[in-house]
Every structure is written in structure tokens, then in C-alpha cells.
């Protein structure tokens, strides 16, 4: 949770002073077509608690990506993988509104903490739909709300990301 708070605070602070991103030579903001790749870390979001993501833009308005995470929960091991498709309904310079949707694959292994029990494992696949704000220059910041759906129903969630475009 502390890591999540750090990511959120850093991501909140940056756009306050943000100018359209400039490189060392004072050139205009990095264009998506020049920097189509992005790597980032997330707090909450698609990984549940946190995640590491990679994304590639196929066009100015369209991208493909994926977030992976591994989390220890008091001895339980949670693995998560979320491939997604991302589109931009609105975009202006470095700022945009994005929508993404994809599958959410989760596996939880519960090793037994005691000798008399075997433990257990559970896997599942669901879907997620996210919408939010993005700042994209050489740095990448995102905040979003999310709906996660699975066999047990639908739940709201959200996340924040910080990363770099390449």
C-alpha cells in the first residue's frame, strides 16, 4: 500500500508543473509515432495490488499492451496477467482520455502453512474495462477507473501508472 501511495503522489505532482514534454534540446513534446513503446509500473489497477506494464502503439489512437504482477499475500502467491487493447476517444497534445479493455487472468496458489493440510490453488479469467486520463510525453502518467467482471460478478477498481515512453 505504501508503494501505491508513492506512485500516486509522484504521478499527481508531475502534471502540476508539466509543460509539453521537451527533450534536452528544448524540442517539442515527444510524438506517439516517435515513441510508440511504453513501460510503466502501476499501483492497484490491472494487477490488483500493483503491476508492470508494456504497451505499443499501433497508431496514434490505438495501442496494445499487457500488465503482469506477482503479489505475496501472507504466504499466498497471486499471479496476474492482463492483455488489453487501448484507444483514445480524446487527445490533445500530450494529454488524452483513454479507454482500454482486456482479459484478466489470475492464479492464486495457497501453500499450506501447516503439515496436515495440502493447501490449494485457484485460477480464473475475467474481463476489465478502464477509462481515464493520460499524460504522455517522455514520461507517462495515467489515472483511471476500472470495472472488473468475472464469474462472481462485477466490481469497481482503479489505478495509477507512471512510466516512460520509448
Amino acid at each position: 500500500m505504501r508503494a501505491a501511495a508513492v506512485v500516486v503522489c509522484v504521478a499527481l505532482a508531475a502534471p502540476v508543473n508539466a509543460q509539453p514534454a521537451r527533450d534536452d534540446g528544448g524540442e517539442p513534446a515527444a510524438k506517439v509515432e516517435d515513441r510508440p513503446n511504453a513501460i510503466y509500473v502501476e499501483a492497484l489497477g490491472k494487477g490488483g495490488v500493483w503491476g508492470v506494464g508494456y504497451e505499443r502503439h499501433l497508431a496514434k489512437w490505438l495501442g496494445l499492451g499487457g500488465v503482469a504482477s506477482f503479489t505475496m499475500l501472507d504466504g499466498q502467491r497471486m499471479y496476474s496477467l492482463t492483455p488489453y487493447v487501448l484507444v483514445y476517444p480524446l487527445r490533445s497534445g500530450s494529454h488524452g482520455m483513454f479507454v482500454d479493455g482486456g482479459a484478466n487472468l489470475i492464479r492464486i496458489d495457497t501453500p499450506s502453512p501447516v503439515p496436515e493440510w495440502d493447501g490449494m490453488s485457484e485460477s480464473g479469467i475475467g474481463a476489465e474495462l478502464s477509462a481515464g486520463y493520460e499524460y504522455r510525453g517522455k514520461l507517462l502518467f495515467r489515472f483511471y477507473v476500472q470495472a472488473v467482471a468475472g464469474k462472481s460478478g462485477v466490481a469497481p477498481w482503479g489505478g495509477a501508472s507512471i512510466g516512460w515512453t520509448l
Binding site: 500500500m1 490488483g48 489470475i106 492464486i108 502453512p113 476500472q146 462485477v154
Partner: protein, 297 residues
């Protein structure tokens, strides 16, 4: 190197799980001060051999309604009116009230009792209790392993006899926001060395979520993968020979419109028959859960 060692120590401290608290059963004379249990006798003799014992577990929430109201609800309900043993969680004692609420409830129902404090609550104590129509004996209390940033939980044990067969009764109330691994570790000391003929009932707080650092329920994760702790705890108890005849009865608690299966009665070395959840008794966020048990011939 010293800095690295310090970092590792801090990390290890922050990463620790349950403190096992040297959990062990304590007899009445080992408990003192605030933790001294209160015991009282009923008026009935022991149950005859071959009899059926109706056991109820009920979390009465924050001390419960007035004991006379709880007693009236039990008498008005056809299933609860025949309760022989009632295991209660979140019982309280406040000195200003003169007597424990459990003693008043037990006397209303003509039962004997044990009330064991788990921790301070306002100017009194909060704990768990067993009340019984039939004589109780061999009382014991265990301070369960403590989870980080959580409150002390206990298990209370007593023996009731059916003819010449002893049935060891245990009630407990586990922490709320534990993951299943820590939940098993918290419960284990109270169940691992029980006699063959035993019954464990209570509020196990087997909620449907996985938890991050005991604070954040991973609600979206629970929509995709089964994180329900109730069947997992059933599976653990099955590994040491206990059945849960109340598992198929459904949810036992409702809060904020969300129902969960938090309460259970686990049975070993006995047969079981009728069972139920009394959802028309609404004095708490939990409903009374009951099962009829008989010892093997």
C-alpha cells in the same frame, strides 16, 4: 554492511506474520485479573446416553441486545428453544451493569455458563462464552496467535457429557481481515490437539476476499478467482477429521447488504442430523446457526 543488515532486519520485522503468542490451553487457575473467566452452574443433570445434543453458535455483536430480549427470541423460535448448548461470540461485561450479560442470558434460559474475556472493551471486557443446559466441566481458555495490528482473539473450551461419553466443546471468534493461511495458523492451536470426540463452533470470519496487508480487500480479484475462505477452512478442518454439517446451509451474516458464510459448527467423532440457520432472529448482523449431534455408540 551495517546499513544493509539494518534494512534486512526492518524488512523482516515488517514482513512477519502471526505472533504465535505461545498459544496453549490455560486452566481456570492460570487466568487472573481482567482475563479471569466467570463460570456458573445450571440446574439440570447430565444428558442420558444416546441423547441428541442441539448446539447453536451465535455472534451477538458488540455485547448483544438485552439478555432478556435474546432469551425471548430463543424461546419464541421452535428450533432455538430446544438448544442444549449455545456458543456466543462478542459477549461483554461492563462493571456498571453488575453482572455479566452472559450470566443473565444463561439464567434466563436455565443454563450453566462460562464467559471468558479476550480483551478490554470500554471499562469492561469482550470475549466468548458457552452456555449449556447440561453441566459443563474442564474449562480452558487459549489466547490465539495475534495477527499484526489486530486484537487478541481467544478460544474457550469446556466438556459436556452425553451419558458416559465426553464431548469437547470449543468456541472461537477469529480475526476479520486475515488471508486463509493466517486464518489457519490462528485457529490451528485450538483444534490440533483436541480429543477425538469434539465440536468446534463459532465465528471464523471466513470472508470471500484475499487481503493486502490485512487492510485492503481485493474485491475485483474475488470476482475472477475463487477467494472464498469458507470452503478453504472447511478443507483444512477436513484434513484433521472434522466435518462441517452447516456448510451447505448458506450464508450466516449480512452487512451492508452483502451476505457471507462466516460462522460454522465443525464436528468430529459424532454423527449429525437436523441443522439450520435462523434468519428470522435479527438481533445481530449474524444469524444463529445450529446442528443436532449424537455420539457414536
Amino acid at each position: 554492511m551495517n546499513r544493509l543488515a539494518a534494512i534486512l532486519l526492518v524488512c523482516a520485522a515488517g514482513c512477519q506474520g502471526l505472533d504465535d503468542n505461545n498459544a496453549h490451553w490455560m486452566s481456570m487457575d492460570e487466568l487472573s485479573g481482567m482475563f479471569t473467566p466467570e463460570v456458573g452452574s445450571g440446574t439440570r443433570r447430565a444428558m442420558a446416553a444416546g441423547g441428541t445434543l442441539r448446539v447453536v453458535t451465535y455472534n451477538i455483536r458488540d455485547g448483544g441486545a438485552d439478555p432478556t430480549e435474546i432469551a425471548a427470541a430463543f424461546r419464541a423460535n421452535g428450533n432455538l428453544a430446544n438448544a442444549d448448548v449455545v456458543m456466543l461470540q462478542e459477549a461483554v461485561f461492563y462493571p456498571g451493569e453488575g453482572t455479566t450479560r452472559i450470566s443473565r442470558l444463561a439464567q434466563e434460559l436455565d443454563m450453566g455458563w462460562i464467559y471468558a474475556p479476550a480483551r478490554p472493551d470500554k471499562d469492561g471486557t469482550l470475549g466468548d462464552a458457552i452456555i449449556s443446559r447440561y453441566p459443563l466441566s474442564d474449562f480452558a481458555v487459549m489466547h490465539l496467535p495475534i495477527a499484526p495490528r489486530k486484537r487478541q482473539r481467544i478460544a474457550v473450551a469446556a466438556t459436556v457429557s452425553i451419558g458416559d461419553q465426553d464431548v469437547r466443546l470449543v468456541t472461537t471468534h477469529l480475526d476479520t481481515s486475515l488471508n486463509i493461511t493466517d486464518r489457519v495458523l490462528q485457529l490451528r492451536p485450538a483444534v490440533i490437539e483436541l480429543p477425538e470426540v469434539a465440536l468446534v463452533g463459532g465465528d471464523f470470519n471466513t470472508n470471500p476476499y484475499a487481503w493486502q496487508e490485512g487492510e485492503v480487500p481485493l474485491v475485483p480479484t474475488s470476482q475472477i478467482v475463487d477467494t472464498d475462505q469458507a470452503p478453504a477452512l472447511d478443507d483444512y478442518m477436513d484434513s484433521i477429521g472434522f466435518s462441517n454439517p452447516t456448510a451447505a446451509l448458506g450464508n450466516t451474516e449480512v452487512r451492508y447488504g452483502i451476505e457471507s458464510r462466516l460462522d460454522a459448527v465443525f464436528v468430529r467423532g459424532m454423527t449429525y442430523g437436523d441443522r439450520g440457520i435462523e434468519r428470522d432472529v435479527t438481533l445481530s448482523d449474524h444469524w444463529p446457526v445450529w446442528v443436532d449431534v449424537k455420539t457414536l455408540p
